[in-house]
Structure formats: C-alpha cells, structure tokens
Amino acid sequence: MRGQRFAWGAAMGAALVFGCSSSNDSGVLGNGQFRYLCGSLLGDAACTGAGSLSSEVDLPSVIAVGATFQIGYAPNNGSGGTVEGANGYEIVPASDELALASGNTIVAQEGGYVALLARHAGNADVDDFVHLRLSAIQTLQASPSSLTLVAGESQAVVLAAHDARGAPLAGQLACVWQMTSGAGTVALPGTPSTGRVSVQGVSGGTATLRATCGAASVDVPVTVSGSGALDGGTDG
C-alpha cells in the first residue's frame, strides 16, 4: 500500500516537473487522446516514478533531440471516453527532418515543433494529430553527482537533461559513457548507451566517468576503496 502511494506520488511528481496536464493529451482535432508510453524504454526521465503502476503518462513539454520515445493513440468513443487498446493506427511524424518513426517508437532528430499524426493503417486518413517540441540538450546533471564505492560494489548513475531554456527534457537519451581517468578502477558492465549506467568498483583508486549526450557532457568523479574480489583482492 505504501509502495503504491509512493508510485502514485512519484508519477504525479514527474508529471509536475515535466509540466504536463491532461489537456496536453487531446489531439488538435478533438478526435482522440495521445499518450506517452513508458513500457519498454528505460531511463526516460518523463517516466521516472511511473513504475509498474502506469505504463503511460501525460505528454511531456519538451523532448531531447537524439532521444527515443514512444507515443500511443486512442480514439474517442461516442460517450466522451477513449477506446482503450485501439489498434489500427500508426504514429507518423510530419517531417523526417525532425523525427523518425518505427511503429510507435520515435527518435527525435532536430529541434523544433513536430506534429505526430495518428493515421489509419491501410488508408491515408488522419484521425488526429498533436505537436511536440523537440530541443537540443544544453546541460546534463548526474545523480548522484559523484560516487564512492567499495571494490565489488555497483551503483547506478542517472542523467537528467535540460535545454537552453532550462526545461527538463524527456526521452530515453542517447549517450556515450567513457572513463577519462583511472581506467581499471571501475567497470561499466555491458555497453551503456542511454542516460542510465551501472558503475562497478574494481580496485582502489579514483576515476572520472564522462557521459556525453548530444553536445553536452558531464563528469562523475568516482572513488573506490579497498581492493575487491574482482581484481583478485583479499577482502572478498
């Protein structure tokens, strides 16, 4: 019960941070509702807190250029609600210059407003559309901003992106993670490419982890104490 309340609160908090309201979801033509899907893309700041309680949230105000996101559409029914689980629609960006789509997964390409059209699969008719704003990443914030680990211990670092106006940016970020100093002190399991990474302490020392997303980057200092089992130490 407490966890459910927390999830609701976190979801509401995320909605407030991203400036969402239910009115954002209505299509311009009034024929249906657009929703921001959180189901399968990890590390999207707009979905933080949604957890398992809800797989969709209100449309965010701004989405990061280079980020991946998913949009769903449900047409209105005759009694003022929406037809849940409706299929037969594809989401089509108005211009490939701004966004590329594959199914309901969209990758932001360039800054500006882009209309997303809910189009009937199989014919050219449009049911409704909505505009989203895409903006380049100006600054990145890492959370936590620094790490202190024991060798063998792992901790996640999550990035938050903002544009030149200071607006928080939604979308699963496309990032490159690299060690700029202290190679061998920590390990990054897998090949992290989003705004979330798991950092594992390997051996005692300091290191600097750098994340680059678009033109912005942020450094995360890491201190590892002890000599863990990973490097053949004796304390594990």
């Binding site: 108005a94 800054g111 407003y113 059209l117 009937h120 008719d125 559309f129 505009h131």
Partner: protein
C-alpha cells in the same frame, strides 16, 4: 411578341448556362499552430514539421444566387515532398502538414475543377 419571347428565353438560357460556376472557396477553421506558422485563404508560411487542420468550403453561383456545395470538395498539393494532405476520419476536414522545405500550392477543387489556389512556403524547423 414572338421575337420578344425568344429574346427573353435566350437571355435566361445565357444566364443559367453561361453565368454559372465556382464563385469562391475558403479554408475554414484553420487550427492554431504552436509557432509563427500561418495559413489563410491567400497563402501561408509553415515551418517543417507543423500540421494544421481546416474545412475546405466552396460556393458556386448561378442565375438564382450563390450556393455552398456540400460534396465533391477535395484538397490537393502540388508537391507532396513539401506539403502533404490527408482527409480526417469521419468528417469534411483535411489535415495539411509541412513535410520538407520548399514551395507548394494547395488547390481546393470541386468535382475536380480548381476552386482556389493557396501558395505555401515551407521553411526550416523553428528552433
């Protein structure tokens, strides 16, 4: 008298047959766009990526006056790489969206005949 009747008939025939046709057309209820893009009966400038919806309306005139048409109205684009058009499900509106930079002409037609041309320029996305 016969000459008078014949003359009157000719005048009426000319009025009915020769003076009927498309009177004017409008783009009605153009939806608000989120940036400074514009679209009106006379023309428009849209940033790439922007869409708008409206109802195309056409009036014809004949000897008895001007009449709004309720069917046979369509909207076409001269260049689908610049400007695209689609019908809206279940009503008479259409959606027009700016797909790429360049110039195109929207043509409102009645039974395939042009009723109005609207030049539209599509510019690069607004930052």
């Amino acid at each position: 008298m016969a000459r008078y009747r014949m003359g009157l008939s000719l005048v009426l025939l000319a009025a009915v047959a020769g003076c009927s046709g498309i009177d004017h057309a409008t783009l009605d209820g153009v939806t608000t766009m989120p940036d400074d893009s514009t679209l009106s009966n006379h023309g428009g400038t849209m940033h790439a990526g922007i869409a708008t919806g409206f109802t195309p309306r056409v009036w014809t005139h004949d000897f008895w006056g001007t009449h709004e048409q309720s069917s046979g109205i369509d909207v076409q684009t001269s260049d689908a790489t610049v400007l695209r058009v689609a019908h809206v499900t279940g009503d008479k509106r259409v959606v027009v969206w700016a797909a790429g930079e360049g110039s195109a002409t929207l043509t409102v037609t009645l039974d395939g005949s042009p009723a109005m041309n609207v030049p539209v320029m599509v510019t690069q996305p607004a930052p």
